[in-house]
Structures are given as C-alpha cells and as structure tokens.
C-alpha cells in the first residue's frame, strides 16, 4: 500500500463546476499538507499549503485537512479552462526530505 493514495482520474468537468480532489494517507507523522498544480510539460507549482487539520481558502480554492481520517481535499469553485492541469497532493513531516506525493489527478475543464 502506498503512503499516499490519489485517484489519477482523468476528471472532466464543464466550466463553472465545483471540483473536488482528494487524497488519503497512512503516515500519521505528516504535519504539512500541500497541493501542487502541474501544467503539461512543466514543473509542479505550489497551489495551497496547510499545517495540521482545518480549512484554508484562497480565492476559488479551498484546502481541507482531516488528520483524524487521514484525508485531505482540494475544492475548486467556478472552475475555468485555465484550471486544466494535473493536481498533486503532497505531505511531509518536519522536513521536506520526507515529503510524499500522490500520483496526481488530471483535470480537464471544458468551456
């Protein structure tokens, strides 16, 4: 069993839809939880960052962490075609050298 599980999709939604992306994990030592966005043939870029449990909102994006269930989510409201990318969840303990990534979910938002 992988430490981080993420449904690879692909996921296709119409423009304006609410998108829900999820990851589960098994290592209770993870403290930092991140979502990276990766456009085709580009490097990942940090989208959202949270520490421990709770919610964090940034514009159309909301990240949720439930440490008791070992489950994290990313919600995208009013999705746009420019949101079409692969979304990677990532998590780490106190140091980045133990960061683990999900396999990534490929999202397409159709106009």
């Amino acid at each position: 069993q992988k430490e981080v599980e993420q449904d690879p999709g692909p996921l296709s939604v119409p423009e304006g839809a609410i998108v829900s992306l999820n990851c589960t994990y098994s290592n209770s030592a993870f403290q930092y939880f991140m979502w990276y966005r990766q456009y085709s043939r580009k490097g990942p870029e940090l989208l959202m960052y949270t520490y421990s449990s709770g919610n964090k909102e940034d514009g159309r994006f909301t990240a949720q962490v439930d440490k008791s269930s070992k489950y994290i989510s990313l919600f995208i409201r009013d999705s746009q075609p420019s949101d079409s990318a692969t979304y990677l969840c990532a998590m780490s303990g106190w140091n980045n050298n133990d960061m683990r990534f999900g396999a990534g979910t490929r999202l397409t938002v159709k106009p």
Binding site: Q6, Y49, N97, M99, F101
Partner: protein, 114 residues
C-alpha cells in the same frame, strides 16, 4: 518563478552509459532535491542535499549518485543508465528557515534510455 535551471531539458542515451543532469539555483536555498516522475507513481525522491557536500538518499536512490560542490549546483549522475531510468527528472529547492516548507521545482529533464 524561483530561479531554478535544469540542463539538459531533453536527453536520449544508450543503456550502460553514464549520464549527468545538472540543477542550478540562484535563490541561495540550502536544501536541494532530485525527484523522478513516472505515470502512476507521482514524484519520488531520489537524493537530496542539505548543504555543500552534505547529501542523503531518498526512497529510490539505487543506480543514482549526487554531488554538491557549490550551494547553487546539484548534480545527479546515473552511473550506468538502464531503461527503467527513463523518466522525467525534477530538481527542487527549499529554504528550511522559511515559514513553510514549500519546495520550488524546476522545469524538468526528460530522459530516455534506449
């Protein structure tokens, strides 16, 4: 964008040959990382460095070595390339003194071993 440059961006090499990938940063970050990205596996850590001449293994280090002689440069060497090392390689940097542990990634190197 964080100042990270990977070279080469694309490379095709033959099985059994040594290959060196270079990562150069202009951010003066202490930590540097090499990841590989394969379908179904996400990003997996190969090696990382926490300072000049200070390196350690990641989860998929077999067949790879690294060197860091200067803060700004981190080299990844495939000692004898195999077809299983065909992948996209990403360099990343982070600053442990920062408020968060964000890692900034380079644009990637696409390596094909034939």
């Amino acid at each position: 964008d964080a100042g990270i440059t990977q070279s080469p961006r694309h490379k095709v090499t033959e099985t059994g040959t040594p290959v060196t990938l270079r990562c150069h940063q202009t951010e003066n970050h202490r930590y540097m990382y090499w990841y590989r990205q394969d379908p179904g596996h996400g990003l997996r850590l190969i090696h990382y460095s926490y300072g000049v001449k200070d390196t350690d293994k990641g989860e998929v280090s077999d067949g790879y070595s690294v060197s860091r002689s200067k803060t700004e440069d981190f080299l990844l060497t495939l000692e004898s390339a195999t077809s299983s090392q065909t992948s996209v390689y990403f360099c990343a940097i982070s600053d442990p003194e920062a408020l968060n542990t964000e890692a900034f990634f380079g644009q990637g190197t696409r390596l094909t071993v034939v």
